[in-house]
């Protein structure tokens, strides 16, 4: 890997000083009347309807504050009036790119309350579909990264290879974006014939896609000069703001819920590596996500060969009444740590569901990180933080 073996030692300190110096420079310059630029809800750089109010001094951002709420659908209130199967359809619309990954923590929380465990085969297939939705989510990120920087071609590669993964998910679950395939106690159906062979072929295509993106984008000098040392988030600030997923690992925190937090899923059956990066700048975040996509293809390859046979659904009554209690389960979603705090009162539906979505915390750091940054870098930093609007606004 040509990029990693270059010396990265004191880069973080250098970049951190640079971004702090930007603060100092701001109040030293002559006080010109700043311009308030409104990067509005329909701006092409935001994945959906996020509005950023930025006060500029020339090209430099003095103060920037995202204002969200344009996409608020009130999920937590809706979840209180729905039964458990109905909430699973609701829940996979939060992070609509990696939608199967949203259902899993909610179902695991309900299973924890009912202390029912899905049979081994169901756990295996759940993990495979989880990693497939991760690939679908992050591969779009890699393509979209290019568009944010101005390169038009990577996004078409991303969509071309993402189609294969979406066809796989649709073949197994019936829905491309909203599979709604997870049930308390197991899965709705088993895999159709020929699905395993097809997945292996698609995984090979995905790996060539990752190499292509690495050559086209990451190896590119302009891309590196645009992202190295930009939007640096040191370790303790990342922890305080509750960043999660690739953003946290990019600031050097070695925390991956799949490995450190035991869940009734099949991650421990495959060996894969958790990538961290000392820099904490935009490049580190994007680079880690690229490696995670490769790891995901490895996980799927290993798990595909070792699917145990057996029932797909545990013994669960048809009308589900979850016993009283509270449970919290969070998994390593493509965007970060997504968790559900389910409080149930023994009725058909949950009493209260707190949805902890990853992008809400990832974006709450924006006012801190966007200070003293140039206008084009607003887009770069936000692209590398990688949020989905449904995740923020719920």
């Amino acid at each position: 890997m040509s990029i990693t073996d270059r010396v990265l030692g004191d880069r973080q300190r250098l970049a951190y000083i640079a971004s702090q110096a930007a603060d100092a420079r701001l109040n030293v310059e002559l006080e010109t009347e700043g311009m308030t630029l409104n990067i509005g809800p329909q701006h092409p750089a935001t994945h959906g309807t996020l509005r950023i109010i930025a006060r500029l001094d020339g090209e430099q951002v003095v103060w920037a504050e995202p204002s969200c709420g344009y996409m608020h659908r009130g999920y937590e209130k809706l979840a209180e009036v729905r039964t458990y199967p109905q909430v699973t359809t609701l829940v996979n619309r939060i992070d609509w790119l990696g939608s199967f990954a949203n259902e899993v923590p909610f179902i695991l929380a309900a299973e924890k309350l009912m202390d029912v465990e899905a049979p081994a085969r169901a756990q295996h297939i759940r993990t495979i579909l989880f990693e497939l939705s991760r690939i679908a989510n992050v591969s779009l990120f890699l393509g979209d990264l290019g568009v944010q920087m101005g390169a038009i071609t990577p996004v078409f590669f991303a969509f071309r290879d993402r189609e294969y993964v979406l066809n796989l998910i649709e073949g197994a679950t019936g829905g491309r974006f909203h599979p709604n395939f997870d049930r308390i106690g197991g899965l709705k159906d088993d895999l159709p014939k020929g699905w395993i062979a097809e997945t292996k072929a698609v995984m090979k295509k995905l790996r060539t896609f990752c190499d292509q993106i690495e050559d086209l984008l990451f190896g590119n000098e302009i891309f590196q000069s645009r992202t190295r040392g930009i939007g640096v988030i040191p370790r303790d600030v990342a922890l305080q703001y509750g960043l999660s997923g690739a953003n946290l690992r990019a600031s050097g925190v070695d925390w991956d819920l799949r490995r450190d937090h035991p869940l009734p899923m099949a991650w421990n059956k495959a060996d894969w590596k958790v990538w961290t990066h000392p820099d904490g700048d935009s490049f580190a975040r994007c680079w880690i996500r690229l490696q995670e996509t490769r790891e995901a293809t490895k996980i799927v390859d290993q798990l595909i060969d070792t699917i145990p046979s057996g029932p797909i659904m545990a013994k669960v009554p048809k009308i589900i009444k979850v016993p009283e209690g509270e449970a919290w389960v969070s998994t390593e979603n493509p965007l970060g740590e997504m968790g559900y705090y389910v409080v149930s009162r023994g009725e058909l539906g949950p009493f209260r569901v707190k949805i902890r979505s990853a992008s809400f915390n990832n974006i709450s750091i924006a006012p801190w990180v966007l200070r003293g940054v140039y206008v084009p870098d607003i887009v770069t930093v936000l692209a590398s933080l990688y949020f989905i609007l449904g995740d923020i606004d719920r």
């Binding site: 709420g69 009036v81 209690g325 968790g339 009162r345 539906g349 707190k354 902890r356």
Partner: protein, 191 residues
């Protein structure tokens, strides 16, 4: 854990996750000790629960029959609690990967709590969201503007006594309206 927090912990509960309930006035100091002495640097989230069961049910009752009676007793969940609203936050230790959920009661009379945005910077947005959804205001919070809802929105949606309008206006199609056989049934066994 109990040693470090001492008498501030009122109640605790352990079932493959750890819940702690802290005295209302010791909320900020206990969060600070959690972060500094016990190393819980990772701020996951902060929110609130309204323990009063909703008077509207799931909007699926038959308008013809009399509205069913619903129990309105306030029963707190794990680690007890005696007020209607509780704020809970979850913080984690990035090294030992252990996390804890800290609960605190919010006095019913005037729901205020002191803000912990200077202990955990991430709490700023979470407190704003909890304020607009539950009406709990956080003393010392820099700007408690609405996070999602328009500025002039009155009412706090996530409270249980706030009706979900979508389900109020539209009659529920699930109400069984199969009219009986004209002229009573001749005793045919209904399949």
């Amino acid at each position: 854990m109990k040693a470090a927090l001492g008498d501030r912990v009122v109640d605790s509960f352990h079932k493959d996750d750890l819940w702690l309930r802290v005295r209302t006035d010791a909320w900020k100091s206990s969060m600070r000790t959690l972060r500094d002495t016990l190393g819980f640097h990772y701020f996951s989230f902060l929110s609130a629960i309204d323990w009063m069961p909703s008077p509207y049910g799931r909007g699926e009752d038959d308008p013809t029959e009399p509205p069913p009676v619903r129990d309105t007793t306030i029963r707190p969940g794990y680690a007890g609690g005696d007020t209607r609203m509780q704020v809970f936050a979850r913080v984690g230790n990035p090294v030992s990967h252990v996390s804890v959920i800290v609960k605190v009661d919010v006095p019913d009379a005037q729901p205020t709590l002191d803000s912990i945005h200077d202990v955990y910077a991430g709490a700023n947005w979470h407190e704003r969201e909890t304020h607009e959804m539950f009406g709990i205001n956080f003393a010392g919070h820099p700007d408690l503007r609405n996070m999602y809802l328009p500025v002039d929105f009155e009412g706090h949606p996530l409270r249980k006594d706030y009706p979900l309008l979508a389900r109020m206006i539209k009659p529920w199609p699930g109400i069984v309206d199969v009219e009986p056989l004209p002229g009573g049934s001749e005793g045919g066994d209904d399949e």
